[in-house]
């Protein structure tokens, strides 16, 4: 098959084909050509997140983000969605811990509309009182559904243990009592102090020339200013666990229990990240969920899913194993998982295992960049973690340079089978 020709046509993103422009008001615009596409994707974030939520008003950033498209100075809720949906376009805005992210897509001809709606939602929301109350009911229903979800409840309990006393340990979508307390004035005030062009990043990928994409973003968002925009809050330090801490959340009437075991992990920008990531792939991702899948699912037949994850962001991350098992098998599954973690921090992974995961990482990169959404997300990631425009070009070399020794040392820095956060949610 015509491999050689193909590879030369489709190189990985790099400094020579990524357009990156900083607008005078602080917005960073990224773009890359995708000539064959009929559609366009926008993706990015503003520097407003749940980290600023007061304890008694947890969920404020989440509520604010959800309310941005409920009415702006120029358009009502129904006018906003009529414009979007009539074009077959979509735009969503949601809060994370550090940032509020947006994702939109449209046919190429509707990019201007998408940018205009994004601008209005981010900079001119009016938070109509009736819409705020309607949204509150929807959020509260979402929280009631969450309270019945064994996976979500185990995850919240895990965060409470591993991030005890740290803002990361709080549920970013809030609690029923805190969401009930948030007023429209809180939304207005949070928006005024946190939303602004400083630190905003936007990637535009698809049926638009990158130069034009930058011009269009500048024309719509280039005049946005907010002199009241706060600096992001500082992140307090985290504390490591002294021993294993377990929490069980009881949900009567459920058929299955979800379990999560783990500890703190590296930040995304940490020098440990690549070794931890490849190690995690061996532990509980590669093929059918790595060693964990092999032990818990394939050999013991205990779970439909059992895998490990490394969640690394701007601050400290988490490294954990999760599984859904028959409530009667919880202790057995925990024993098997703990044994795999013990092996993982006791002996080096084999050169074959490491090579498998290295090949997997290198081979899947072009697949992840197949769609406009994949490229946009890759560009935003470069900016969020300051990885450098040559990151994807250097990626193979970075992946290949990790050794079994690196993985063992890194694993030992983060994982200890006798000092784990263990969260269980089930009947």
């Amino acid at each position: 098959m015509n491999t050689a020709a193909s590879n030369s046509k489709h190189s990985l993103p790099g400094p020579d084909d990524i357009t990156r422009v900083e607008l005078p008001n602080g917005i960073t615009v990224l773009s890359r050509a995708a000539s064959s596409s009929q559609t366009v994707v926008i993706s990015g974030y503003v520097r407003a997140g749940a980290l600023s939520d007061p304890d008694e008003k947890l969920g404020l950033a989440d509520f604010t983000a959800a309310a941005l498209m409920r009415g702006t100075e120029r358009r009502s809720f129904s006018e906003i969605y009529d414009a979007l949906e009539s074009s077959g376009a979509s735009l969503g805005i949601s809060a994370g811990v550090h940032t509020t992210s947006f994702h939109g897509k449209a046919l190429g001809e509707d990019l201007d509309l998408l940018l205009q709606l994004l601008f209005e939602a981010l900079s001119q929301p009016v938070f109509p009182p009736q819409q705020v109350e309607r949204l509150r009911s929807q959020i509260l229903t979402g929280l009631a559904i969450r309270a019945q979800d064994t996976g979500e409840m185990a995850s919240l309990a895990f965060d409470r243990i591993v991030f005890a006393g740290h803002p990361y340990g709080r549920p970013q979508d809030g609690l029923p009592e805190t969401v009930s307390r948030i007023t429209r004035e809180d939304l207005v005030a949070f928006h005024r102090s946190s939303f602004g062009p400083k630190g905003m990043v936007i990637a535009v990928v698809g049926a638009v020339d990158p130069g034009q994409a930058v011009e269009k973003v500048a024309a719509v968002l280039g005049s946005w200013e907010n002199p009241d925009q706060d600096e992001p809050p500082a992140l307090p330090p985290v504390r490591e666990l002294n021993g294993t801490v377990e929490e069980k959340v009881t949900l009567p009437g459920k058929s299955q229990a979800d379990i999560i075991l783990g500890a703190l992990g590296p930040e995304r920008r940490s020098a440990d990240y690549m070794a931890a990531s490849l190690g995690n792939n061996i532990l509980g991702q590669f093929g059918m969920m790595g060693r964990i899948g092999q032990s818990v699912r394939e050999k013991a037949g205990l779970a439909y899913y059992a895998s490990s994850s490394l969640a690394a962001g701007l601050g400290p991350g988490v490294w954990y194993v999760s599984a859904g098992v028959d409530p009667a098998n919880v202790p057995r599954a925990i024993d098997l998982i703990r044994a795999e973690i013990r092996r993982f921090v006791s002996e080096k992974v084999s050169p074959e295992e490491l090579q498998d995961s290295q090949e997997n990482y290198i081979g899947r990169l072009p697949l992840s960049l197949e769609s406009n959404a994949g490229v946009a997300s890759a560009l935003v990631k470069l900016e969020r973690y300051q990885l450098g425009l040559d990151y994807y070009r250097n990626y193979e070399q970075m992946v290949r340079s990790v050794t079994p020794e690196d993985i063992l040392e890194t694993a030992r820095r983060y994982l200890d089978p006798d000092r784990l956060a263990v969260a269980i949610a089930g009947p």
Partner: protein, 430 residues
């Protein structure tokens, strides 16, 4: 983008569809078998899905572990799905690695082992999968609605199967099901991506043509009799949230009514996304969103229609506002449906639905995997022409068609209303 494809039958009856796409160095390979929960009988529900699981347990040439290791080493992704009418396996790989998928799928069409030991460990995995589903109120509700809607048709049961059958099915049952349905003349091979058609076809012939044709399994023939009166089911379970599911018997995908019904569904709850990859869009200007959510009778609304061989269900799902009852929600829903019976929608409403469908098609075509999916999926209930003419057929729908289809299908006598009622502490009476 060109729509030119190659569609031929090999001498053993295997239908092959190929589509060259040269936008990324990727190939996606799908093998489809005409077997799903529709082909199952009581006592053996869930067997098709279980066979799908066993297909990952290895052959002499590709023992378990070797299989997924080989694909993953190439950076590929792969998965399998079992549904009402079909079971499918796909691999998406960098262009120079696709031969692995071709060899693997040709091999496991006939050579999977199904050892007793693997059957035993997979039994508990699948039971765990079902328990995970049972944790979800919406699974519990939809399972009961589906069972109430189909008394005769094999669409009666969920794809995962009933728990009692998951305990009862044995190794030989699974193996016989596999040998009976996994024959080339009951399969469709679809490949899309960065290849050259003559070379790809030659390779496919070499690998797949030696597999002998089998006896084509008979198609189940237990059509559901017409429903004559609304059916209601209630499911009680843990939680604080009430769910209401309203399901109407809907036309099969090959029925001409399917197109106007698709537009009708789009008007009611937003555009139906038939893509497997590539998300949909919001539905906040749909009629039922305005009638239920904007009026604060409900906090969410969604709906959809599936493309199936036999008539299946058009489902509307809503969560009543905490201060409202399911009956208030149903009354408002019926008001909107009555409006569709009485008034034809405007041509603008129709044009909008068609533009939305066009946009969803464009999003779906961004992914080579999704394009390969359509090549085979459309053959499961119609043919690839169905996909090619889909947008034109939607554009040809008239306001009169919408009204006629609303009157024909959206009747209380033709529906099942299901209500999930939360009970204190999840204390479901045993």
């Amino acid at each position: 983008m060109s729509d030119a494809i190659t569609r031929i039958h090999l001498s053993n009856g295997l239908l092959v569809l190929l589509k060259e796409i040269h936008t990324a160095p990727i190939i996606s390979h799908w093998i489809w078998y005409r077997v799903g929960s529709r082909n199952e009988i009581p006592g053996y529900t869930g067997i098709s899905h279980w066979v799908e699981h066993m297909q990952f347990k290895g052959t002499p040439q590709f023992p378990a572990g070797v299989l997924d290791r080989e694909i993953s080493r190439q950076g590929g992704y792969w998965n399998a799905f079992t549904h009402l009418d079909w079971t499918t396996y796909f691999e998406t790989l960098p262009v120079d690695k696709i031969d692995l998928a071709l060899r693997l799928e040709a091999d496991r069409m006939t050579n999977s082992l199904f050892t007793e030991e693997d059957v035993a460990s997979e039994r508990t995995v699948i039971i765990s999968e079902r328990q995970g589903n049972e944790n979800e109120p919406l699974f519990r509700l939809s399972e009961e609605v589906q069972a109430a809607a189909f008394r005769v048709s094999p669409y009666h049961h969920e794809v995962i199967g009933d728990m009692v059958d998951l305990y009862h099915i044995q190794r030989d049952d699974l193996y016989q099901h596999y040998r009976r349905y996994y024959v080339p003349n009951n399969a469709v091979l679809a490949v899309a991506g960065d290849f050259d058609t003559p070379a790809m076809l030659e390779r496919i012939r070499k690998l797949y043509e030696p597999i002998p044709a089998g006896e084509v399994p008979p198609s189940p023939n237990r059509p559901e009799p017409e429903q004559n009166g609304e059916r209601r089911v209630t499911v009680e379970g843990p939680g604080d949230t009430t769910y209401v599911q309203v399901s109407y018997h809907a036309p099969a995908a090959s029925d001409p009514d399917f197109y106007p019904y698709t537009v009708l569904d789009s008007l009611l709850t937003g555009p139906n996304n038939l893509n497997l990859f590539g998300g949909g869009i919001s539905n906040k200007t749909s009629r039922l969103y305005e009638a239920l959510v904007d009026r604060e009778l409900a906090v969410s609304i969604s709906g959809g229609l599936q493309a199936t061989i036999d008539p299946f269900l058009h489902t509307i799902l809503t969560i009543p506002h905490p201060q409202r009852s399911p009956d208030e929600v149903l009354a408002a829903l019926d008001e909107e449906i009555l409006r569709l019976h009485q008034e034809q929608p405007s041509p603008d409403d129709l044009a909008r639905a068609v533009k939305q469908a066009r946009a969803l098609f464009a999003y779906g075509s961004e992914s080579i995997t999704n394009q390969a999916y359509w090549l085979g999926f459309s053959e499961m209930f119609a043919s690839y022409d169905w996909f090619l003419t889909y947008l034109d057929n939607l554009a040809a729908v008239t306001p009169e068609d919408i009204q006629r289809v609303a009157q024909k299908y959206l009747r209380p006598q033709n529906r099942v209303v299901g209500i999930y009622r939360p009970v204190e502490n999840g204390a479901v009476p045993e």
